[in-house]
């Protein structure tokens, strides 16, 4: 059977690995290549690497770093950060990355996904949506944000994920801004609503604080990707930096208890 995926998500800033809380206060946690080597040894299901500087600085993806990561990575790699053209996406796939993630540029122009899918195949096109829960007395629902949560867009999240699917996304990653680094569980309600809205693979990021949280996501949504940052780079209540990842036996147990199979 197809297994749900458990995916470490690494954030890169100035070529270093960082971890944020609520998309803010990046803390340096190490060297990205070193982290990839550790996740190779731990046989992680997949890896997502997001350069959180590139779009904000208007910079091109750091192709040299991407090439280095791709060559080192023995698991499927999804790279995002600063990708806004078909040429850039083709170049990234050409460097040996399985999936290229597009965020701000896809929010601005969903048709970009169509053009990239035509060039590299839709299986390699991932849309990443940074989503923030509206708070306040008279607001409800979610807003889509870009540029590290600093710009909000007036888009209905359910309508928009359907549009991204139609446009050519092969996968959508839903990244909860307000749950980033909080480690108190995924937004299961949102995950369920989005799972019911589209028929492409989905990955959820933001909030995982334990393997139990991942199990809850699978129980709610079935075979999806569960991505996490803090959970796989910190250990213990003082958030000491320690790259970690569940063993195959632990993964089997999560799948068995949440999906009653395996």
């Amino acid at each position: 059977m197809l297994r749900p995926r458990i995916i470490p998500c690494l954030l890169v800033q100035n070529n270093g690995l960082v971890k944020t809380v609520g998309f803010k206060s990046p803390k340096y946690v190490g060297d990205p290549i070193n982290a990839v080597k550790i996740f190779n040894e731990k046989e992680a299901d997949e890896l997502i690497v997001l350069d959180i500087d590139a779009t904000v600085k208007g910079a091109e993806p750091n192709f040299q770093m991407v090439a280095h990561l791709a060559a080192e990575c023995r698991m499927p790699l999804c790279y995002g950060g600063g990708v806004r053209s078909v040429e850039q996406a083709k170049r990234i796939i050409g460097l040996g990355v399985e999936k290229v993630a597009i965020s701000a540029a896809a929010v601005a122009d969903p048709q970009l996904l169509t053009r990239i899918a035509d060039a590299v195949g839709r299986q390699s096109v991932v849309a990443v949506l940074d989503v923030r829960k509206r708070t306040g007395l008279f607001s409800s629902g979610y807003e889509i944000t870009t540029r590290n949560g600093n710009v909000s867009h007036k888009l209905d999240i359910i309508d928009f994920v359907k549009e991204l699917e139609r446009a050519g996304a092969g996968e959508i990653v839903i990244n909860s801004v307000d749950r980033d680094g909080v480690m108190k569980g995924y937004d299961l309600k949102l995950a369920k609503d989005i799972r019911e809205a589209v028929g492409i693979p989905l990955t959820f990021l933001g909030g995982a604080g334990s393997l139990g949280d991942i199990g809850e996501l699978f129980k709610t949504c079935g075979v999806v990707g569960a991505a996490a940052g803090s959970l796989f780079v910190f250990k213990g209540q003082y958030r000491a930096v320690l790259i970690n990842y569940p063993t195959q036996a632990q993964k089997d147990e999560i799948i068995r208890s949440s999906l009653h199979v395996c």
């Binding site: 197809l2 299901d45 023995r74």
Partner: protein, 203 residues
């Protein structure tokens, strides 16, 4: 020397890194001269079928590839779309395939229109081995990483050497004499993938 055909598609570097780690000499092939000394050939590929055929034709290596594989019987392993290229053709496009393994590439949705499972088929799936004598030797309950919406529908059942299941049972590895193909990505499938590439290198 193992040569990985570099025609602009697929993760050439990942294969080179993997073979280096395993202790096999490997290089990328960018011209037909490179293929002259190949003792094994990897044909990678991602993306759309017609695009892959077009790039392979433009690479100038197709004729030499046919000579080495069909005449000299050099073992070749096609990966993902590189495997699909071995078929006669694909529902995804109009271009004819290499036709080295009789069959046609079909989509999950066209075979099973009522299928409700997400497309593409993405992630780790169990593989049932039907012939463990070659590239699937020394594996117990293997799992591999898949990323595709189309699969190889063999004309002759004896060309199918492994299958997997995603809403329906589908062939995920083929073999016709010295020509092999796998739908999944062994270069990204940890120790099972490593074992498969080692098996191929040692054929």
């Amino acid at each position: 020397m193992i040569y990985v055909v570099d025609y602009g598609l697929g993760n050439v570097q990942a294969f080179l890194t993997m073979f280096k780690r395993l202790g096999f000499a490997a290089a990328s092939a960018r011209s037909s001269t490179d293929l002259e000394n190949a003792t094994k050939i990897i044909l990678p590929g991602v993306g759309a079928f017609d695009h892959a055929v077009e790039l392979l034709n433009q690479s100038g290596m197709r004729e030499q590839l046919e000579k080495r594989v069909l005449m000299d019987k050099v073992p070749l392993l096609g990966i993902c779309v590189g495997m699909q290229l071995l078929a006669n053709g694909s529902e995804e496009g109009q271009a004819p395939g290499l036709g080295w393994v009789p069959g046609r590439v079909r989509s999950f949705r066209s075979v099973e229109p009522s299928m409700h499972l997400p497309q593409p088929h993405m992630g780790w799936n169990d593989v049932t081995v039907d012939d463990a004598s070659t590239i699937f030797a020394n594996m117990v309950n293997p799992r591999f990483y898949f990323l595709h919406s189309y699969f190889f529908d063999c004309e002759r059942p004896d060309n199918a050497i492994a299958h997997s299941s995603y809403g329906l049972d589908f062939t995920c590895a083929v073999r016709a004499d010295n020509v092999y193909g796998v739908q999944f990505h062994p270069e990204k499938s940890h120790h099972f993938g490593t074992q498969l590439l080692k098996n191929f290198a040692e054929l």
